[in-house]
């Protein structure tokens, strides 16, 4: 990119917070998804909201596209920038600004690591609920962009249910505050609109989150089944009984095998077709009584064994295999394509059969670990992307799995976002009119489409299709390296 841009950015943040050498930039060529790669033109690391404003204002002035990035743990290729774009990394902005235990609110900068926030509020008897598997590394800002989920979202909702207010730098560099600490908006629900917009509406520089009380009592139960169908039916029965577990997670045989062969071995039975984790929380008496009901349902539906834990240590052991499943699967092959789709829960057994069929057809290794309670699947394919034949088969299999999920009324993503990875699937679930409306809303926030360009909405599929080229004037645009 043009050296004048490098100079201007250096002036804003200081030399040590701009990366421009090829080897440095290569670090940012991928996020958590190994199937997409793109080297950004420059990387800049602001340390304050003011620096973010100045950077965005500058980029808007010279009409250079930019991509905001947190820890880069995303799984949809959403935080990748093209060589003509500047990557704005927000991990330096990692301050927890305020914690209000009475109102149960915390105000954080976007670069705060998810798990760190929960650790900080735990001594106050509070927790920040959304807990994506990457929580030890991912940032709250990234969670806001992707509307991240996690195992405990079944009962408590995803990121959007826990964000009450945002300070946002819009793509023209202006600043606005959306929502209110109270959770009631000053007008339409722009916080709800902004969360999950994948960095295309602006950059959140200050995030006010809702905290929940740590439940008085928690019980974790682990059951194993001879068939996936029996495990799925247990899930439906538990929910039909009026019980809303804090989490309801399932792992299939391949996933259990990977976990048990790794250092994360949790003592899960390797001969089981499915292992189900059920977590109940609430008042001690209620949890006790509901645990008996759940136990009966599990046994009634054919659980071979049910283990139960209520102390923190014992529960952590039962959770260990689930929490480390992705790490364990990572050992099987150099690369892991983590997929994310949602189906109506009633179709779980049928869709699992279909995924197994696709696995056999393409001769791949697929391990399934998923949020069974809300039908959010993660079929994960272990492979080596250096082998072009395998990589092609992985792409085809992913596509077929996604098509199967959409065919039963599901969605192409439950918590990872669309990014670059799933942009081609968007017309499968949204018609041209709706995609056109999405693009129009994006242009409300970002008329010249500078923020994270080329993601989420396939412009060619919009009703009012027009050239992607916006009003950018080439003479002002900085040249490419």
């Amino acid at each position: 990119m043009k050296s004048s841009l490098l100079e201007a950015l250096t002036k804003i943040v200081g030399q040590q917070w701009v990366r421009h050498r090829r080897a440095e930039l290569a670090t940012y060529a991928m996020d958590g998804l190994p199937t997409h790669e793109s080297v950004p033109g420059l990387v800049v690391m602001p340390g304050t909201p003011r620096e973010v404003r100045e950077i965005v204002r500058l980029l808007h002035l010279i009409q250079v596209p930019f991509v905001a990035r947190g820890a880069g743990t995303g799984l949809s290729g959403g935080a990748l920038a093209d060589p003509d774009a500047v990557l704005i990394t927000l991990t330096r902005m990692n301050q927890i600004l305020r914690i209000d235990p009475i109102q149960r609110r915390a105000v954080v900068q976007p670069g705060v690591v998810n798990a760190r926030l929960s650790e900080a509020v735990l001594p106050l008897g509070l927790q920040y609920v959304p807990d994506p598997s990457s929580q030890a590394a991912c940032t709250v800002g990234g969670n806001v962009a992707e509307n991240a989920g996690g195992p405990h979202c079944l009962k408590y909702g995803v990121t959007t249910n826990h964000i009450v207010s945002l300070e946002v730098v819009l793509p023209d560099g202006s600043v606005t505050r959306l929502g209110s600490t109270q959770g009631e908006a000053w007008g339409p629900d722009l916080v709800g609109l902004f969360v999950g917009s994948e960095g295309m509406f602006g950059i959140a520089t200050e995030i006010t989150v809702r905290l929940e009380r740590v439940p008085e009592s928690v019980r974790t139960m682990l059951a194993d089944f001879a068939t996936v169908r029996a495990a799925s039916e247990s899930v439906s029965s538990i929910i039909a009984a009026g019980i809303v577990p804090a989490a309801l997670e399932m792992m299939d045989r391949a996933c259990v095998a990977a976990v048990e062969a790794s250092i994360y071995a949790a003592g899960y039975p390797t001969d089981a077709a499915a292992v189900l984790l059920v977590e109940l929380d609430g008042q001690a008496d209620a949890v006790e009584a509901e645990a008996i009901t759940v136990h009966d349902i599990l046994v009634d539906r054919g659980a071979r064994q049910v283990r139960s834990a209520s102390t923190a240590g014992d529960r952590a052991r039962l959770w260990q295999g689930r929490k480390k499943a992705f790490g364990a699967m990572g050992r099987i092959a150099p690369d892991l394509a983590v997929q994310d789709a949602v189906v109506p829960r009633s179709t779980l057994p049928a869709i699992m059969d279909q995924i197994e069929g696709i696995r056999r057809q393409y001769g791949l290794t697929i391990s399934n670990v998923f949020h069974a309670g809300d039908g959010n699947l993660h079929p994960n394919i272990s492979f080596d992307r250096r082998d072009p034949d395998v990589a092609a088969r992985v792409r085809s299999a992913c596509r077929e799995i996604m098509a199967a999920c959409v065919a039963v009324g599901g969605s192409i993503t439950g918590e990872h976002g669309v990014g670059s990875d799933k942009i081609d699937y968007m017309p499968w679930i949204f018609d041209a009119e709706t995609l056109g409306a999405m693009r129009a809303v994006r242009r409300v926030f970002d008329p010249t489409e500078l923020a994270n360009p080329g993601k989420v909405v396939p412009v060619h599929a919009c009703r009012e299709w027009c050239a992607v080229k916006s009003a950018r004037t080439p003479t002002l645009r900085s040249g490419q390296a």
Binding site: S180, W186, P188, D189, G192, E288, G410, I429
Partner: protein, 420 residues
């Protein structure tokens, strides 16, 4: 009441002839059963499908007609000036209920009570208890985001809406969200429609998140001074109690001499029993269980109380700000019909007041960082005050551009913001 000057409507002078022409065009589009006239003779379209709804909007957009958005006419008065009214009352099909997935798809004009009954047949429940009459349409509840006491345990209206189909002001049919409980595909356009008061389009259909019908549903009442009840409520919330609702009702709303605190516990028998036991052991309030057969009637009467005056507004506060906000209401308006979430906040006031008082209240609330939303009022008040106001810097421009996007011809007669 003083109201600001209305801009003369382009077709106002054309009178009955214009109205007849619109009536005829609508009949040609929807057939004879799809059009009638309201009490003032304004043509009223009652489309039966999302497609028909979008055709009406498209026609109005092409002709430059103003549309009054109506549900079943039980919440907002049908008084916005317009060339035609579009009512969702014929969109009353419960399209599908999927108990195994805890999802229902419902046309927007469906009366809440009809939906409640049908869901109960399946052992299902929608944990939303808005103010107003039982026959209020689900579309009205979603469009105005009017949550009731169950907001305490089950969240605001937005948490119950998985997706919706909306006809924009220029007749595009947009499908936001989906029918699965977890979904981050594309921008979350549903959030804009929930509480958008119809300013971003007319909702044709909603996908709702359901729960299993609770096995137990117990309400207990305590009476006392407001201070005593609000401080007791704060104690309860910090004592690991998990009520579905913890609502403070003013004497006028409760039709009692004192303030009333109503705690509703909903869920499995075990959970409800555990909470009720603990409630008795916490604090000094005397709790009186409501007989099971009176529970539904009690909450229904409380919900209807919000129709006891021409104006209803809500103040967004947190639990410990409830007292101060009610003081503010009492100072600027009157104590009147007040219902407040005593645990997590949110206050609803119903009564009558002149415009200047309401403006003063919004200003006073804004200085205390309390958003005030006008939920329901006669048109002159809505027009002058707006459903929303006191926007933060930059928000007004975003909202304005969003309205241009969803209603480029400014056909929808909805007063999101007031005129000074």
């Amino acid at each position: 009441m003083v109201c600001s000057e209305e801009r003369p409507h382009p077709h106002a002078s054309l009178g009955a002839g214009m109205s007849d022409a619109i009536y005829t065009r609508l009949r040609a589009l929807l057939g004879t059963t799809g059009v009638d006239r309201d009490v003032n003779g304004v043509p009223r379209a009652t489309p039966e499908s999302g497609d028909a709804l979008s055709l009406v909007c498209r026609l109005a957009h092409e002709e430059g007609w103003k549309i009054r958005v109506e549900g079943r006419g039980t919440w907002l008065p049908s008084d916005a000036p317009a060339d035609l009214a579009v009512s969702t009352r014929a969109l009353e099909q419960i399209v599908s209920v999927s108990p195994a997935d805890l999802v229902a798809t419902v046309q927007s004009g469906t009366p809440l009570e009809a939906l409640r009954r049908r869901l109960a047949d399946y052992g299902m429940w929608l944990a939303v208890d808005p103010p107003g009459r039982p026959e209020r349409s689900i579309g009205s509840v979603v469009a105005t985001a009017t949550a009731g006491p169950l907001r305490h345990g089950y969240g605001p209206v937005r948490d119950h809406v998985l997706g919706c189909t909306v006809a924009t002001g220029d007749g595009r049919l947009v499908n936001a969200g989906g029918r699965v409980v977890k979904n981050v595909a594309g921008y979350d356009l549903t959030k804009l429609q929930v509480g958008g008061f119809g300013g971003f389009g007319i909702i044709a259909e909603v996908h709702l998140r359901l729960r299993a019908l609770p096995r137990a549903d117990v309400t207990l009442l305590a009476r006392g001074t407001r201070d005593a009840l609000t401080s007791a409520a704060r104690e309860l919330v910090s004592g690991h109690l998990l009520p579905g609702a913890l609502e403070l009702l003013s004497p006028a709303l409760a039709a009692e001499a004192d303030w009333m605190l109503a705690a509703r516990f909903v869920g499995t028998d075990a959970a409800v029993q555990a909470d009720v036991r603990r409630l008795g052991s916490l604090g000094e309030l005397k709790w009186e269980p409501l007989p099971a057969e009176r529970t539904a009637a009690f909450w229904s009467v409380a919900a209807r109380g919000s129709l006891g005056g021409p104006i209803t507004l809500r103040l967004g506060v947190l639990g410990d700000g409830v007292d101060e906000a009610i003081d503010l209401l009492a100072h600027d308006l009157d104590e009147g019909l007040v219902s407040a979430g005593a645990g997590l906040g949110m206050i609803r006031w119903t009564g009558d007041a002149p415009l200047e008082r309401l403006r003063a209240l919004r200003r006073a609330a804004a200085t205390r960082e309390i958003p005030m939303t006008l939920e329901r009022a006669p048109w002159p008040i809505r027009r002058a005050l707006g459903h929303f106001g006191a926007y933060r810097e930059g928000v007004g421009q975003i909202v304005g551009r969003l309205r241009d996007t969803f209603d480029p011809g400014q056909c929808l007669s909805v007063a999101l913001e007031g005129v000074e």
